[in-house]
Amino acid sequence: MIYTSSNSDINSILGTSPNEVETKGRKSDRVLLVSVIFLMMFGSLAVYSSIAYFAQGHGTSAGSLVTGHIFKLGIAFFVMLIVSKIDYANLAKFSRFAVLISWLLLIAVMVYGDMVFGAKRSLSIGGFSFQPSSFAAVALIIHLSVLISEKQDYIKDFKRSFLPIMIWVSITCLLIALEDFSSAALLMAISLFLMFVGRMSVLQISAIVFIGLIGGTALIMSTEQRQSRVVQYVNQITDINNTNFESAAGYQAQQAHIAVAQGQLFGVGVGKSTQRDFLPAPYNDFIFAIIAEEYGMMGSFAVILVYVLILFRGFAFIARNARDLLGTLLAVGATLMITLYGFVNAAVAVGLFPVTGLPMPFISYGGTSMLFAGIMIGLLMNISKNSRNSKEFYIG
């Protein structure tokens, strides 16, 4: 009704008048909440099983690391609940500054960051390790939603809408790409998806995709090492059993395959994974392979379906029923942030995508990403709480 108001007032589209919709007493999306809790519990088990090797190497026990993990999950859950209480319209007001701060942090991390796996990705602040790229991604998605909904009237204009939006997106993605290419690429994709949903010109978006493809091909052709990685990637999809690897990534992909194959229908059993000893970072990048091994096809299908449920819930209920365009875009962005990370991680683990270092939201071990995944879910819950339609959309 907001979009269809007769005067089609920009304010109504921007949704700056929350009082138009009655939201009192409404509850946030319970399906989402249950899904997240399910993922967190499943993730904790998988982390416990797979982190022993890492713990041994760092002079600590799997138990204490998992306790830390659960503690962080608790913080994420708490943050999620807080965010769900704050009206997203208020959040939107600070998005511009959040992006600017994220840029500063990304520059800071390049200078002061801790080296982890050959890349500087995290900052230590008061004993806590913090990844600015996660923060930057969240900030960008929120700010992008705000920009797109602000520029709805001239959304297909190149100069007034596409260019400024692309500047925000490009700078953030570039800064992230310097240290973490795959995260940047995924963020770029989410941004483009969001721009597509926000009615921006398909032609302009296509141009970006085209440029990206050209640039990517050029990048691949530039060195033999990259070429061999592509060959390896093709091999790993077409010839799963081949043991001649072009690169270390091929070995990892195969170990992940073996883990998945070990699982069969019901898995080898809780905590009985053997492939955790062969996979790098089994508690993070390859945690889905461990789940597939320990819980079999039943377990891995369940996890994928939970992410599909979140996707479905986020798009078909929360985004569709958001009280304004900002809510819709924020919901789409947040849903994509959660589900695409999950899907990409799973796709890497089953060998569909080339090996990247993306975490699986609420499942992987690691603090910062979980915190921002919590913020994303909190945002979704807040949007669902402030949706314009009646209870019938909500369960519980």
């Binding site: 009615r199 194959a261 000893d277 062969f278 994928i304 996707l311 799973a346």
Partner: protein
């Protein structure tokens, strides 16, 4: 409305596109699990699963009384990984120092071993077996990179005892010779397996519930060896080899009734705990893996064949030339001495080559060959020892004109000691040949009998009657008139045959010999058959003198050990003989003397004329037999010859002390005995007159044991 519709449309298009990703993931999961699953799971098996073997304990070896001849003990092996992270030069030095304290090797020995190892070597064995104390000390150091492994070691408790029979194992505890090799598969058992997991650093770790196959422990051997007899045999063989300065010696003792080997020895021997400490040549078991021309011991074949075929008469006289040599088909055959005229018994007893070959040449070559073959020559005995050879027995069509006579005396044929023993065993067992064997049964770790080797007969080599007829012949070998007087044991009947074979060196008979003796006892109910073989004895090459003496020593000691083998008591022996002593007849009337002698069932003749006996032959007190003719010289007794109050001193020489004492006492004289045994000297001399009450001094000397035994055997004969 248009904008919203557009947004919604785009949103759902996006959702549809994105849903392709999870769909693809689900398909891929299915593909990896189901379509490509088997290949990947095989990969998993090859990389993550490994099996370590759990060694099975090697079976023990027991003798017939249950003494442990071979067993196992745990030893510790120490190795180092000098590239292990965190291990330092000082660490290695400490290890070397601690180790050298326990092994008496210099520290530098170990440090050199480490520094001389190939580079990048991550497993350098420092010591294959260290003591528990050393093991504990090294472990206490707590240095990472030290590899301590438990290992089994084979222990031969009695060191060199029965070394050649038992054999030895290599450092992988695999049997190399002897029973260890023959029964290696049975002794070894089957190693168990433990499934372990490997991680990507190739570290092995076991886990709870891992499939495990328990090792099947090796079977234990229960041999027929008797370690007492074995020890005796080895000791006496060694003595024999040393006394005769021989190169080498072999002795085997077997029970002819079953074929059970009681002892088998070679000298020089070795300690199987340290097999490398002696030449490989001395680790060979000559008893089964050495063949040679046997010499006269082979005459058994000739004797059996000739008697059974009826080509020889026991009363027949064989004339051997005065020179002791005879030409047969242009080749000279020699006897060790010119032996003159011999009957069949003497041909064997005195081991006449000429006589034997004469007998053999009456036989059909095929028949002779068949007898030799039947007695096991030319084929393996199939004793349960490795590396047995079958000897060499030419077939008749391969023979030359002189093969038969020469084969009949043990040349042109090659036999192993065990074959010869088997043949004599068959002879001892009344003609039934038994297969020699060493292991009576095998038991598993719980003592349950898994496999049993029952005594098995090979075949009958001759009729019982033939054997019975031949037994006295072979008994007579072991007498003074035979060639094996040296093998005779006092009070026990032994049958056997000596052998002296000139060794064929590079195709020519050399001046070195092999002396042997094969025999069995007790001759009438044989319980032991034994073969003694001395290679190149330097003292005498006669088998009877060298090997026979060893046989005698072993037989004597076995008889002392085995209550079933009775040596007759000396007093019984005397009682058993028809033993009479010539009575004192001088001074008696002719009639009285006649009555006395006829009472004793002794015939006599008289010479001279008179009423009384004045002299007699044999002298009073001498031993006489039934067919001894006593000669009495008659004369008139002149009592005046001896003055009143005097007595004549009798001739006491050759009497024993007791006889002398009673004789003197009867005459009223006292006796002063110096020494004991047979009197050889007296004072005053015989014929002198003395008053009663005076003392006669006699000196006695014990006759040597050999003289006694000679006498005994002469009597036996």
């Amino acid at each position: 409305m248009k904008e919203r519709t557009s947004i919604m449309a785009r949103m759902f298009i996006l959702m549809g596109l994105i849903l392709l990703v999870p769909f693809a993931i689900l398909v891929q999961i299915f593909r990896v699990n189901v379509i490509e699953g088997d290949g990947l799971r095989d990969l998993w098996n090859s990389q993550a699963i490994d099996y370590i073997s759990i060694p099975a304990q090697r079976g023990q070896i027991y003798d017939v009384n249950g003494s442990l001849l071979a067993t196992n003990s745990v030893v510790y092996k120490i190795a180092v990984d000098p590239l292990f992270p965190g291990i330092t030069r000082d660490n290695l030095k400490t290890i070397a120092t601690v180790l050298s304290r326990h092994t008496n090797r210099p520290t530098s020995y170990y440090t050199n071993r480490i520094s001389n190892a190939p580079s990048h070597s991550r497993y350098i064995v420092l010591e294959r077996s260290i003591t528990v104390q050393a093991y504990e000390d090294i472990r206490e150091l707590g240095i990472r990179g030290v590899i301590l492994e438990e290992d089994y070691r084979r222990n031969y408790n009695f060191e060199s005892l029965s070394a050649h029979v038992l054999g030895y194992v290599n450092h992988n505890i695999e049997g190399m010779t002897g029973l260890e090799s023959r029964y290696n598969e049975k002794l070894k058992g089957n190693a168990g397996q433990q499934q372990v997991r490997r991680d990507r650093a190739n570290r092995i770790f076991s886990y709870v519930g891992a499939p495990r196959k328990t090792p099947q422990q090796g079977l234990s051997l229960h041999t027929t060896l008797n370690s007492y007899i074995q020890a005796i045999t080895e000791e006496e063989l060694e003595k024999g080899v040393r006394n005769n300065n021989a190169k080498q010696g072999t002795a085997i003792v077997m029970d002819p009734r079953t074929g059970a080997i009681k002892a088998m020895a070679n000298y020089p021997t070795f300690n199987p705990n340290f097999p490398a400490s002696i030449d490989a040549e001395n680790r060979r078991n000559f008893a089964v893996s050495d063949m040679m021309e046997p010499g006269s011991t082979f005459k058994l074949v000739t004797a059996i064949a000739a008697v059974e075929q009826g080509v020889v008469d026991f009363d027949e006289v064989f004339e051997t030339p005065e020179s002791g040599t005879m030409q047969i088909h242009g080749q000279w055959m020699r006897d060790h001495n010119p032996l003159g005229d011999l009957n069949f018994r003497e041909v064997i007893a005195k081991s006449s080559n000429i006589g034997t070959s004469e007998i053999a040449m009456r036989l059909d070559p095929d028949a002779y060959y068949q007898y030799a073959r039947n007695m096991g020559f030319g084929t393996q005995t199939n004793i349960d020892l490795p590396n047995e050879i079958g000897g060499r027995l030419q077939r008749p069509y391969e023979w030359s004109g002189v093969t038969l006579p020469w084969m009949s005396i043990g040349y042109e044929v090659q036999t192993t000691p065990i074959q010869m023993l088997q043949a004599y065993g068959a002879f001892a067992n009344g003609g039934l040949m038994m297969k020699p064997y060493l292991v009576s049964h095998l038991t598993d770790q719980y003592g349950k009998i898994v496999e049993e080797n029952k005594p098995s007969s090979v075949r009958r080599i001759a009729k019982k009657e033939t054997i019975d007829r031949l037994l006295p012949v072979f008994k007579s070998v072991v007498t003074d008139s035979g060639t094996a007087g040296w093998a005779a044991v006092d009070g026990m009947e032994i049958a056997g045959k000596t052998g002296t074979a000139q060794k064929l060196v590079n195709g020519r008979y050399s001046s070195s010999y092999r002396a042997s003796f094969a025999g069995f006892f007790p001759a009438d109910d044989p319980k032991y058959v034994m073969l003694i073989l001395l290679d190149e004895p330097k003292t005498s090459y006669y088998g009877g003198f060298t090997a026979g003496a060893v046989f005698k020593e072993i037989a004597t000691r076995i008889a002392g050990l085995d209550s079933d083998v009775k040596r007759s008591d000396p007093t019984e022996r005397i009682a058993a003989m028809e033993h009479k002593i010539a009575p004192r007849l001088t001074g008696l009337s002719k009639d009285n003397a006649g009555v006395l002698l006829s009472k004793q069932n002794t015939s006599f003749r008289t010479t001279g004329k008179g009423s009384h006996v004045v002299q007699q032959v044999p002298e009073p007190g001498e031993k006489i037999t039934t067919n001894t003719l006593v000669t009495l010289e008659l004369g008139d007794l002149n009592t005046n010859d001896i003055p009143e109050g005097f007595v004549e001193i009798p001739d006491l020489r050759t009497m024993n002390m007791r006889q002398a004492a009673s004789l003197l006492r009867n005459k009223g004289l006292n006796i002063n005995m110096v020494g004991s045994g047979t009197i050889y000297n007296q004072f005053p001399l015989a014929g002198e007159l003395m008053r009663p009450g005076r003392t006669v001094t006699v000196r006695g000397k014990a006759r040597s044991m050999t003289q006694i035994s000679q006498v005994t055997h002469q009597l036996n004969r």
